[in-house]
Assembly symmetry: C2
Homo-oligomer: 657 residues x 2
């Protein structure tokens, strides 16, 4: 009975069973141990992407997946044989011993023996497309089921996303997807070599860390460890980033330059195109500068950390050169946060198109201008003209807190009298507002803003992107497909006024714009100690590509007194909130060098390099946007008996929050 | 008030305060923004390990940690200045502007300017030891506290392990430890390049996976996801190894050869020298052989997967060549499991010394021999003689189930009559047992064993290691410090008789010796289907170095019917236990290529390469053997309000298991 459950054979189940019926038991066993996919088979001589015209006449052994047959006349069949290197066209004479290949299910794994034959000249496609392999013999290494959930080679008929996610091992057989996975490996290799050549040391930091007060987005890991004091359950938390370990590492002096392709974990609760686990190219450097030298300032980089900028630019250039064959400029442009917000209404401006925002406050009648100034505000305008955007502007729904004014000869200098967004600001009925560049036919979009920009974008900035999107859909705007508009954004406000007092680290109206370890610009240190907190700029830098933030970093505070001042006086942390930072404060007191670093979002970068619409297409086994894994069917319930080992139990329904 | 909490200055607190008292408020702010470690400072021109005789006379700027002063006469002081590259000796004339260096606390971070001076010829130590730097000026970048928990540079007085773990950032400043961390990076780099050059594709597999029935050692991760059916909490589990994802990846055909330096997680509950998280060099290859060719068999490798063996040997050779400058042999010896157990009583034999075990059953009187045979057992002996081991044997406490017999002229052929371990086996009072090699003065250790070896070691195998340990302590045995006795162990039993019926996958008396995906040797497939389960050998291979298992792997089952047979008929899994493997079974049915792979324990390998007694010394931020992290103070309690978000609560005491 047991023997009957053995290996399956060359052709199909029915044939196999018939065959087995005719064999003696001894023969069956011999067949089982020698046959098909349960015993030795010859080694392949080549892969399916390596043969070319120069191999004409060679005897070869290939292995791979058999794709759908194409019959040519009565006697000949063609089959593509595919592996991860490419596809070779097999030629099978239907009178030959290889004829039963026709009976195989598509996606079966076979080994073929045959001879390379140069194609007729007109049918040569270059490389492996110059040749066929005329099959003399074959062996099934593993047959595929007759009914697969979908056929990965049928690119004209791609299954729905859930089905492909559930059977990811089939979807990964699609060349488009496997190319991404292979490219990811290639780029990671380039990145590591580039950093190695720059003298960076790879260090693995703990994934199992301590839960932190900013824990809203962290994953907990219950432990079986019994806490001696009170026998209560204790937890690790998965690292959200290696920020603290890497700073401690640099403080130790064990390495001068650290890097890691770090797996990070964040519970994003289904945020679009985020993954519960993601990969960062993370680095940190000791002895980075704490201000700019003349050469750096001349490039617009007026903060410290130029060493990080240079290392990152060399790294990114190496990645683009290796992956795309593209030579990026030898220095990326730099823009301050305020300039980015003023001109583009965004801290990650897409500079692939114009449509810049301008401050028209100076042109306003004095009554309006002075009233605005009293409120600490300015009036900005996005002036739209020309074929690129005017139609988009006509159809745009607009965004809240913006107003569209259609300019004609009558209202060109008087629109301000009836502007709704200016309502409540005193203006004379005969006031004149002479904006030199404004012309009849223009659309002018208006929005008010605080004088010092705040946040990540303004209403006009969001409108600008909306217009660009519509114009691209309408076909009036085409962005160059190979544009690589890298841009550094610097001099962010170090602290942000917290709207919600419950926000972490925001007891005292202020929270850190990035994280509390970011250093102020040294010119602004006196302001920080004087309490002019809103004017303090941080030594933070973001790297932006085509309007997408691909990385960020900063020079860190390395002075324990300054760090303590930020924790205690500005962020007004409670002692329990400060507790998780005590070891960092102590490390700063043990002789910490000046240091700074950066993290690049590797998934995002690969998504850009592979031109995919989602980062899921550059991850071998991604989760859905909801955080579930349809392949491994996780997360999944766990028995109460298992939970009991952690001294945990299920809450009764109704008890849950 | 705020301004008073600013940066600290050049020398010490007292001086600083005195200075500040004398300054006007404006001066204070100016000083704050320009001074010390809160503003720009010159870039270093060299690191502390790079200068040499050829730099004599150069003006240099160095940064680093200042180590204890050594005074030479009235006028000159020497200070080592250390960074992660090395240490340069500073010379300070106590009349110079650099004199206040003496007042600094040890481990403070300073920047010095000075001139390279060649040492007198007799004091040259080579490299950076050929020169001093005569300091003209210095600046404190960050002063260290007066009272550090311990002084890392004081290698004659190393603090206790808990203290060092708590202040790991100080401990990592010890050169011995930072050397390990840097070497780890170097070896990882070599490994990745070696695998890349072999055509391996690096793929990241999910860390957040599904909890499995073999979950006793896994870590759970509660999610905030609400399960639609019943609103019950659901959990991820941290990967214990990428076994299933990597097999699915190879089944997909997306890559032909996969590798990853994979972070794995296992709750070892305080097993000696294990870590909750550890790193494996993990790889898998498609189309590996399923049996040996003649060349492979001639090397003793009679199973499939020779491609994996070759790739691993090339990898290991590259690592040893790069890290140690050692050329390893071009082929590592191979030994079957049975031979290893017979000769060394271990499935990971330490072959750096002899002391082999022998089977003395054939020499026994027929009555004893036949009685043993009826019980399916053999009698083994470890015969000890000579200076190496005899004293160790005299003092060894021995291990259970062994018996020591001191051989003299009287009992040389009659010891079997009174042997306690043979008690109950019939023997005549005048029986003779003539073991040719046995001599008076020998110690003979005896133990009985099943005919086919089982498990990882035998009593005599454990005794052999005990004798070696004692002999080394006594000084009668010295193992060569540079020995690299690599050894492959193959042909393990595929299934193990389960002693404990509760053991996972052991309902039917059998469990998988390694994991249920390991393929049988093709010659043994008929036995497997016939139910002669104990005779089936697996296509599994372990790599052993000096008695330590550094890796293991196997050729996998790629036939769905065979895999199902193993799950259902041999391991007798319940449907719920089989459920987590359904996607693997389905992947095998979708056209899976023959495949096999291996994982090397990277932490263990680094521990061997760095000659450390614990893997903690090759990990930047390790946890204690109990699984706690004294630096980050994890694991830690979590509030009930946080747990409520996961619909979990604390069990009342008394409810816990």
């Amino acid at each position: 009975m047991l023997a009957g459950r053995g290996c399956r054979f060359v052709v199909r189940q029915k044939t196999e069973m018939a065959l087995r019926g005719a064999l003696s038991r001894v023969d069956q066993l011999r067949f089982l141990s020698q046959g098909a996919h349960c015993g030795p088979y010859p080694a392949r001589t080549h892969n399916c992407g390596s043969l070319s015209a120069s191999d004409d006449g060679k005897k070869v052994v290939l292995t791979g997946w058999i794709l759908p047959e194409r019959k040519a006349g009565k006697h000949v069949s063609f089959f593509p044989l595919k592996d991860s290197f490419g596809a070779t066209q097999l030629v099978v004479n239907r009178d030959s011993p290889a004829a039963p290949l026709s009976g195989l299910t598509v996606e079966s794994v076979v080994l073929v023996e045959g001879e390379v034959a140069l194609r007729p000249e007109k049918q040569r496609r270059g490389g492996v497309g110059d040749i066929d392999v005329v099959v003399s013999n074959f062996r099934v290494l593993n047959s595929a089921d007759n009914s697969l959930p979908f056929t990965p080679s049928d690119v004209s008929n791609i299954a729905n996303e859930d089905l492909r996610a559930r059977y990811r091992y089939l979807d990964l057989r699609r060349t488009a997807l496997s190319d991404n996975i292979q490219k990811r490996s290639k780029v990671a290799h380039i990145a590591r070599n580039a950093l190695h050549d720059e003298g960076f040391t790879e260090v693995e930091t703990p994934v199992l860390l301590r839960s932190s007060p900013e824990g809203a987005r962290e994953y907990l890991v219950p432990s079986r460890i019994v806490r001696a004091e009170d026998d209560s359950p204790v937890f690790y938390a998965l690292q959200q980033s290696p920020q603290q370990p890497k700073q401690l590492l640099i403080c130790s002096g064990a390495v001068d330059r650290y890097y890691q392709l770090a797996k990070c974990f964040r519970d994003e609760g289904g945020r679009k195109d985020r993954q519960p686990e993601f990969t960062q190219i993370d680095l940190e450097m000791a002895f980075v500068s704490w201000g700019a030298d003349a050469a750096s300032a001349a490039r617009g980089w007026r903060i410290g950390g130029a060493e990080v900028r240079d290392a990152i630019e060399r790294l990114v250039r190496a990645m683009w050169a290796g992956a795309e064959g593209v030579t990026l400029p030898s220095a990326f442009p730099v823009m301050t946060y305020q300039e980015a917000m003023n001109r583009f209404g965004s801290d990650k401006p897409d500079t692939r198109f114009g449509l810049e925002i301008s401050d028209i406050t100076p042109y306003l009648p004095a009554t309006q201008r002075e009233a605005l100034e009293r409120e600490g505000e300015i009036l900005q305008a996005l002036i739209v003209r020309g074929a690129d955007f005017i139609s988009a502007s006509q159809t745009a729904p607009g965004v809240p807190d913006t107003e569209r004014v259609l300019i004609d000869a009558a209202n060109r200098t008087s629109w301000q009298r009836s502007s709704s967004i200016m309502a409540g600001l005193p203006v004379a009925d005969d006031s004149v507002c002479e904006i030199p560049s404004l012309k009849p036919g223009d659309h002018m979009w208006l929005a008010r803003r605080t004088k010092l920009a705040q946040g990540g974008s303004t209403p006009l900035g969001r409108l600008r992107l909306q217009l660009s999107q519509i114009a691209q859909e309408q076909g009036s705007l085409t962005l160059p497909s190979d544009a690589c508009n890298f841009l550094w954004v610097t001099e962010f406000p170090l602290f942000t006024r917290a709207d919600d007092d419950k926000e972490f680290l925001a007891h005292g109206r202020w929270s850190s714009s990035h994280h509390p370890f970011t250093a102020p610009m040294y010119e602004d240190i006196p302001k920080m100690y004087e309490g002019r907190v809103d004017e303090v700029r941080g030594q933070h830098y973001d790297l932006v590509l085509n309007g997408c933030e691909i990385g960020g970093g900063s020079v860190r505070v390395h002075d324990a007194a300054m760090q303590d001042h930020i924790f205690t006086n500005i962020l007004q942390l409670e002692p329990t909130e400060k507790a998780p930072f005590e070891h960092l404060l102590h490390a700063l007191r043990c002789g910490a060098p000046p240091h700074g670093g950066m993290a690049l979002g590797f998934d995002r970068i690969m998504s850009i390099l592979c031109k995919t619409s989602s980062i899921r297409d550059v991850i071998a086994f991604p989760k859905t946007s909801g955080g579930t894994d349809l392949l491994f069917r996780s997360p999944a319930p766990v028995g109460e008996d298992v939970l009991r080992e952690y001294r945990l139990g299920y809450l009764q329904k109704g008890n849950s929050a």
